[in-house]
Symmetry: C2
DNA sequence: AAAAAATGTTGACAACGACAACATCGTGCC
DNA sequence: GGCACGATGTTGTCGTTGTCAACATTTTTT
């Protein structure tokens, strides 16, 4: 990528002896987010501490408060970033298969899992218990981007319904099932909860591909009513 | 429930003025676990602190260390308890439908969700990032009970495969898909991640029922016997 | 150039997890 | 019966953390 370099942080992580370390960092905000991800990647746990981050960024302990109201706000910012990235993954699936809804669907599922594998630390923060996912704070930017991400899924489901690929019904409800399988698989992966299966990289890929197909199967329209979006057949 | 009462903690939560508060609590271990669940239920967050628990149990701050090696050990104990409870929920599904595999499967799915609704705090601890779900500690009792819980699911899947209800293939892999959908739905529920849908209790029940059916659909054997090797779907 | 806003720093406080040393209770052993 | 010992609970202390207040320095605006 020959793109123009970033303004380049004056301090990356540690003080440089040659220069007297400028009083202002330059781009602390980004550096903190980056350091936060790095810490989550390594330590994987809840150890993420403001002071630790400040240390990592070569800055003093309360400096982060000039950029984030609280620890939780910082984590929320990382989560927000994560949702945007996940949306990019979803967009990629659509871009690759603009004309084939089934391929789009399957690729979307794969991309969700791929995101989890590529950026587990983001996923953990997005859906972990770190952010007080309480109540009426629907004006928080995190909510907006989260809803937008879910919205992309609903769009896909609506398209699939129109094509007769996915069963009819409230697209939001269908989307919840789709999301559930992918989210569950991704979270189990990310939290090492499947390690007891001793899956090598090949076996993991097979599991992921299977999960993608099963996701479609979970909401697939019954073949009888392929192009006629109707209510489910009278089974009971 | 006319069952015999427990030995009755001498101290429940607060000191009683009448008695000089006996030096020994009597059943601190249970009291701590109970208080931990209570805290998780109320505060829902990571606030769970040893000192706080000790306070709640009317005991002094380092007393818990006589019963749990560390905070993480205490949380692991709660998680273990949760897995046992989840197994009981699963057993109930089997008990209700010993002869009908499809009904057993559906009820098992419902029971998983019911467990999440009934004991969200347990679920959060079982699958949250609190316990360092690391590596070779496969001898930890938590691993054993976790594996046993998954084992129950695999049993169900194997039975369903034999009956031609669920597609053939490695039952563990099939079980992962089943688990993924249920786990994903349960976690989204428990972490209030679906609140933006504004689901009333009725709508939630509908969603849950749909999730149960979609779970079966995700791994159902195709009626045309595409991948079902020997068994014919005798439509039961 | 002066004022104001942004950004970074040190000091302080309360809370926490964990360890050590000590106190008290109960139980088994002679 | 007495007593030693282990189980259990307590206080003291240390290092760490999140957060606020007060102060310092830099950048931007007027």
């Amino acid at each position: 990528m020959p793109a123009p370099e970033k303004p380049a942080a004056r301090r990356t992580t540690r003080k440089v002896k040659g220069k007297p370390a400028p009083y202002h960092h330059g781009n602390l905000r980004e550096a903190l987010l980056e350091a936060g991800l790095e810490l989550l990647r390594r330590d994987s746990a809840e150890s993420l501490g403001l002071r630790e981050l400040a240390r990592q960024a070569g800055v003093s302990r309360t400096a982060p408060y000039r950029h984030f109201e609280s620890k939780e706000a910082l984590i929320a910012a990382i989560a927000e970033q994560g949702f945007l990235r996940l949306q990019a993954y979803q967009d990629e699936a659509r871009r690759r298969h603009p004309d084939d809804v089934e391929a789009w669907f399957l690729e979307g599922a794969r991309q969700y899992i791929r995101f989890a594998v590529d950026h587990p630390e983001h996923l953990k923060v997005m859906f972990g218990p770190y952010i007080s996912h309480t109540p009426d704070q629907t004006d928080h930017p995190l909510y907006a981007v989260g809803n937008a991400t879910f919205g992309k899924l609903v769009e896909l489901v609506v398209s699939a319904q129109k094509a007769g690929l996915v069963r009819a019904g409230d697209p939001v409800e269908v989307s919840v099932s789709v999301w559930s399988l992918l989210h569950g698989f991704a979270m189990l992966l990310v939290q090492k909860q499947l390690d007891f299966l001793h899956l090598g990289p090949g076996r993991l890929a097979a599991l992921a591909e299977q999960a993608a197909h099963d996701t479609l199967a979970a909401v697939r329209a019954s073949p009888a009513a392929s192009s006629a979006p109707r209510r489910r057949p009278p089974s009971r």
